[in-house]
Symmetry: C2
Subunit: 340 residues, 2 copies
């Protein structure tokens, strides 16, 4: 696994999926694959419906060429984007909203990307945004990328980490309604997230002794149990269990204080739910948010934003997040390949 | 009401409660009352156990003098802090943790402050941090300041607003466990918060046509109802109802996007729960967080931080938040007094 073929050159080959064609995914995927900033560090191949991408590429000043796999690795021209056709689009696709067709096309690209990464054809996968609603309409169920990748790689224990500049956040739960967050937490599950977090901060980031800081679930950490008991009954026992196993895990700390400045003391902060970690990440001004999936047997990154249905198809989308995600994918693929 | 006596001078008289004696409250209350930055704009009087405050004042280079009410308004000396004794401490008080005695002393000061404000003896009240645990041990129930002030002034509809620099956040719920936030929300309750918010942004801030932005409860706004229904069933109907009544209320927006930059478009953002609003407020670097209670018939502010039991009694506490809260109290008291 781990992307056996990182290429004959020192640049890792990475797969970029086009995402939901109803959103900005295909635009930013093409733009990223064509970007000199990415090509300096990686050999990208785009995965998606080739006719759809071909029609789109003109608007971005790029040319789509079919990828012929490892056999022909001639250097692509400056605006040439290699594509592996994963199909999925029949007829005209509606932009600006979730559709079953969008879900099917997005899903097909992800499935192929996973196959390529597992077999070592690529060193890592960068995914453009999909819509959970489209995936649900296409029959995948109400899941996101991370859950889909875990399913495709038959991984039980995994974690989502988002990074921006020096701030890294690992999520104890991901796309869970607020009303259900508390009951999704348990001490063993948290210890599992801590374990994965520390393992991959070493493997992916090269941090020798990673330190984790943990957020409370409730305001003021549940006021010592008077307000609510999840800190006392779940989070504190999990932190203690991790410490007993030799992990450097501290907390829990109130979320509004850990992100204020203390976050810098930790290599990653463990947030209990989506907004608790996303709000601070989006408020940081420097650099882009990059999503890194931890625990699956392939390297996978993505930008921190969504499909942006409202601006799809106008070529207004900002591809910097996608380029940052692809560069990070290449960096990790290289580190992992060197470590083998 | 509204603090009838703002003083013969142009400086409003404001009451400062000492907060929980087990925490940093008394230190920062004395320091704020003695601070030239506050005295330039207000005539402060401290409320608390006079013997306790007297023993403490020495460590801060201040001298406690009993306040003789309106009758004797001689200008206090530079380090003289006027105190109205509200008692409550018998024997030695434990610092660094919640105690029943701490709750009793803190509560007594708040009760007197409310009396003074309602009768117009002071133009506003600034409260130093109390501990909900101490208040509970003292028999007040598991409540915070805001709930206590609402009870003492027999107010049913009120709202907590926190402000820092240009960012103002109004909370739909305050100290509620995450597991119970969703079921505390309802459309009428939200419309009430919007109404109070707009009324007081006018009265306290002098904003002619206040604009509110509203947060979603769930990640990605509940994904159009596929993930969770509170946006569809509660928040969107509340925003529509407010618009029909002529209020400028927009949203709901995902919390991680509204605070990223869009917040500046609004005079205040309505957060659904504690951490959703507190995380962004604490991440803003400029100025101090000030808490302003809206909807009660007295002007009341407080700093955005808590008792900080861990550093109590060491004279290490930073009083800037308390001074900022007191200055804001004086500013609002003056505006309200002028408007009458």
């Amino acid at each position: 696994m781990w992307g056996m073929n990182v290429g004959r050159s020192s640049k890792p080959r990475i797969a970029i999926t086009m995402g939901d064609p109803g959103g900005i995914g295909p635009e930013i995927a093409v733009a990223a694959a064509a970007s000199p900033g990415l090509r300096r560090v990686a050999d990208p191949v785009l995965l998606g419906d080739i006719d759809y991408l071909d029609a789109l590429a003109g608007g971005l000043g790029a040319v789509v060429v079919p990828d012929c796999g490892r056999a022909s690795r001639a250097r692509p021209g400056p605006a040439e984007v290699r594509v592996i056709d994963t199909g999925g689009i029949t007829g005209k696709v509606a932009t600006g909203r979730p559709t079953a067709q969008g879900g099917l096309a997005a899903g097909a690209a992800v499935e192929t990307a996973v196959d390529l990464a597992v077999s070592g054809e690529v060193g890592g996968v960068v995914t453009a945004p999909v819509s959970k609603e489209s995936l649900a309409l296409a029959g995948y169920g109400m899941i996101g990328h991370t859950e889909m990748l875990a399913r495709l790689t038959r991984t039980r224990s995994y974690a989502m980490m988002l990074a921006r500049g020096g701030l890294r956040v690992i999520f104890a739960t991901t796309h869970v309604p607020i009303s259900k967050v508390a009951r999704r937490l348990n001490a063993e599950g948290l210890v599992e997230k801590f374990t994965i977090g520390i393992k991959y901060l070493k493997a992916y980031m090269g941090i020798r002794s990673p330190r984790l800081g943990v957020c409370c679930l409730n305001p003021h950490c549940g006021e010592g149990g008077l307000l609510s008991g999840e800190e006392k009954n779940i989070i504190i026992p999990a932190v203690r269990a991790a410490k007993r196993r030799g992990m450097s895990v501290d907390g829990p700390f109130p979320a509004d204080s850990i992100f204020r400045g203390d976050a810098a003391r930790f290599d990653a902060v463990v947030a209990m739910y989506h907004d608790q970690g996303m709000i601070p990440l989006k408020m940081v001004k420097r650099e882009e948010v990059v999503n890194i999936t931890l625990g699956i047997p392939i390297v996978r990154t993505s930008p921190g934003h969504g499909t942006a249905f409202d601006i799809a198809g106008r070529f207004e989308a900002d591809c910097r997040g996608m380029v940052a995600a692809a560069r990070e994918c290449a960096r990790i693929a290289k580190r992992v390949s060197n470590a083998r």
